[in-house]
Symmetry: C3
Subunit: 348 residues, 3 copies
């Protein structure tokens, strides 16, 4: 299923610089690409690979100088975005046949759109709803009264417990858990025991959210845990009860967000960030990898470290930290010199 470079460029509103008649058979990274393949350049880290790639053509951002004549170029506003769209063209993805597998377990009271697919050993409980073209892969589980919108995907072994609501085009990778009990216990010194606070709330996930493998989104104590439209969540992320995440945010792998915390719109939480409970991270804020956030983060701020501080301060702190052993030596020496000065003063 080859296509001409010109045809591909047109798909992404790009401008060909070179031979538009080139036949392109697929896409690959700069390093992997070979003859007949299209690649993209978006990150200066890969400038070296740009000089050595065997790709037939490369997607290039505006202003990037062309350094080779043996490669055709397609100038686009965002090479990464263009690459994404063209990959979808070459790899439209599987569209499983509609219907319920004989070895799936679907409760008679569930409402299945006829175009939906439930594969072997998947389970749809009483009163659940599965929208048009949604797919449950083997071993996926949709709890009692939960609702999937249209074009959703529950990969193998993904679990959605009871009474959760997912919008359209929501994707859960394998092993995702939605609607597990929040971690709520009240200590009773008279027993003594940690008495469970029943978690009777739910989870609501808006359209176009994707959740990575093994991530967990707990149901609310009362009310709902909420993930806004278009937010993307990576693997092994923990989202506690009553958390609210705004739209179009990015939550990287192994992040933990504690109970009742609010994360705004367009926020980026890098890998392994931890946020305490009951705080607010403002719209557009960015939290660097591994940071621990113990308090509110203002909108638009970039913070780093544990405890997280404004990023510029963190950079100065980190640089200073490297000099700390030397500083200790220096102060010890200054002390001696000052003492010497003082004693000389006392001399007659």
């Amino acid at each position: 299923m080859e296509r001409s470079l010109a045809e591909l460029a047109a798909q992404v509103s790009g401008t060909v610089e070179g031979d538009g008649n080139l036949r392109i058979r697929g896409l690959a990274s700069l390093e992997e690409a070979g003859p007949g393949e299209l690649s993209f350049y978006g990150n200066p880290r890969y400038r070296k690979q740009l000089g050595t790639t065997r790709a037939a053509a490369v997607l290039l951002p505006p202003g990037e100088p062309v350094t080779r004549t043996d490669v055709a170029w397609v100038r686009v506003p965002s090479p990464h975005l263009a690459f994404a769209r063209l990959l979808s063209l070459f790899h439209p993805g599987p569209r499983p046949a509609p219907g319920v597998h004989s070895r799936a377990e679907v409760h008679p009271s569930a409402r299945m759109d006829p175009s939906a697919t439930v594969m072997a050993l998947a389970v749809v409980e009483a009163g659940a709803v599965v929208g048009a073209r949604s797919v449950l892969w083997p071993g996926a589980y949709l709890g009692e009264g939960s609702r999937l919108g249209e074009d959703c995907v529950l990969q193998a072994g993904a679990v959605v417990r009871e009474r959760c609501v997912l919008g359209d085009r929501v994707v859960l990778q394998p092993g995702v858990v939605v609607g597990s009990d929040g971690f709520g216990f009240a200590f009773d010194p008279a027993v003594p025991a940690h008495v469970k606070v029943p978690q009777v709330g739910t989870v609501r996930i808006e359209d176009d959210v994707e959740v990575g493998a093994g991530s967990c989104i707990d149901r609310a104590t009362t009310g709902e845990t909420f993930i806004g439209r278009g937010t993307k969540i990576d693997n092994l992320v923990q989202i506690a009860h009553n958390v609210r995440v705004g739209p179009l945010s990015i939550v990287c792998a192994q992040v933990g967000i504690s109970g009742s915390t609010e994360v705004g719109a367009g926020v980026v939480l890098a890998g392994q960030v931890g946020i305490v409970g009951h705080v607010s991270v403002g719209d557009g804020a960015r939290v660097a990898a591994g940071s621990g956030v113990p308090h509110d983060v203002p909108p638009g701020a970039t913070v780093s470290g544990a405890p997280a501080v404004e990023h510029a301060l963190w950079l100065r702190q980190s640089a200073a930290l490297k000099q700390l052993p030397e500083l200790l030596r220096e102060v010890r020496e200054l002390r001696a010199r000052v003492a010497a000065l003082e004693s000389r003063k006392d001399e007659p």
Copy 2:
């Protein structure tokens, strides 16, 4: 199923301040509650919401001044605990019908209490034991010779491998793994290879333990990995082989406890804490979120940071760290001033 406020107050040994005849139809947080709903106030963070809540009544701790006359109050020793108990009253939780689903797979040699429930696509292996009223949700797995006590819950997809022992009222959220192999390898330079150390021990979990979604408790190399009664474990926690956790401890999300470490009774490990292997965390110790614990923690201590130090010291360190860039500048300046003084001394 409305109840009078006086009736609810009596359930939690509380004292009504206001109209005990109010009809209460449910419970909610201060922010979510509306007419006919009861809420609770336990955390000063929510004082603002206490002033604006539309709740009909609020559970209040001793000594907290009453500021509004349009709300009824119920004075209780612990509002959070009272809220937990009343939530259970309003939401008694599902009690699935006893029996083995025709699409469950239960080995003939397993011993099932007739009041237990095994749902579709759950598996109970040879020689396993399931106690009274215990429930395996779809896709849950109980390995060969493993034992569940009474009133246990294995949520969808929870896995208990062979020869593990769980007490009464143990709850495993979806995706929990109990009894996976510990991470034990011995390096053989002659191959070279990391040779697997067979993990032939087991896991024992006492009564009233709850384990959060996606958490893993590895089986012991020999002997047992042990979780004491009433301990609560949050999501995505890693508990390595031969770890021992005492009773009534709290292990928050994404904590990792390395092999053979002992955690005492009533310990609190906040989110994303990491503890190295072969150390001991004493009874009643508290470890702050994100801390890395490289050594023993004495009973009752509160530690923070990575490497973790006594919390008061950590607070001083963190405060000092913010001043470090300024300190560097200052020492540089002092050095110049001392040099100036020294050179003046040398003047005749």
Copy 3:
């Protein structure tokens, strides 16, 4: 199935110091071992237990002095390795009967070796290949066109999505996910939306790799995510798309490796380490627990901290950090003393 100590010593090329006719019935740790049991001593942390163990015999490294005469000793180059080999002797592990369970779901086009085992409720999709003696436990999933080599084990609920390739003797603990979509999105400001970059690559895992419970290995965007032979991965580890991990490395629990990063051969990543994307960790490097690695790590280096620095520097930094509050006080005092000296200088 008792064996003589001499026979066991011969199995591991050890030398008996004491009674080789002792009958040994099993193995246990120094603390747990009782009469008739063999233990091992490899870590000086356990010297106390060596003095008090009730074991009949103990595996001992070269040079370690013998302190008791009531215990027999077996001198071996590596007690841990010898213990591993002898444990395998006493506990050969289950060998499930070959064949496909009537309640497994195996696609007619899958190629199953007749010696392989597929248990109840496991799924093998179209075109998948299962090698000799490989075992899928209940609920395990092997996606379309994926290939398992010989003697592989997919524990309960382990998921391998489509087109992944696993070598021989690969072990996936329960809840492992291989081949989930990488976390790739390109922002389209015109919508606005994070547009999914289709993840059309795959995962390749070489021989003798073990992956711990709940760990996730994402498929590549294009090309492959790769785990080299003999590498061992602990629980709840995140390995992002297009990561490459060399042979014989050790990746401890809750580590996260971001996209396109390369980890060399024989590397040790301790627990909860995080590594950013697009960097390289050289052969034989060691990264201490909880470290955050923002840049390349040279071969053979040992690094610690966040951001990670050379370990010796980190030790000095950590020590200095403890003195920082004191240092602040001291500099404040020095400032006053220098000011006093300066003002005295000005005196006539």
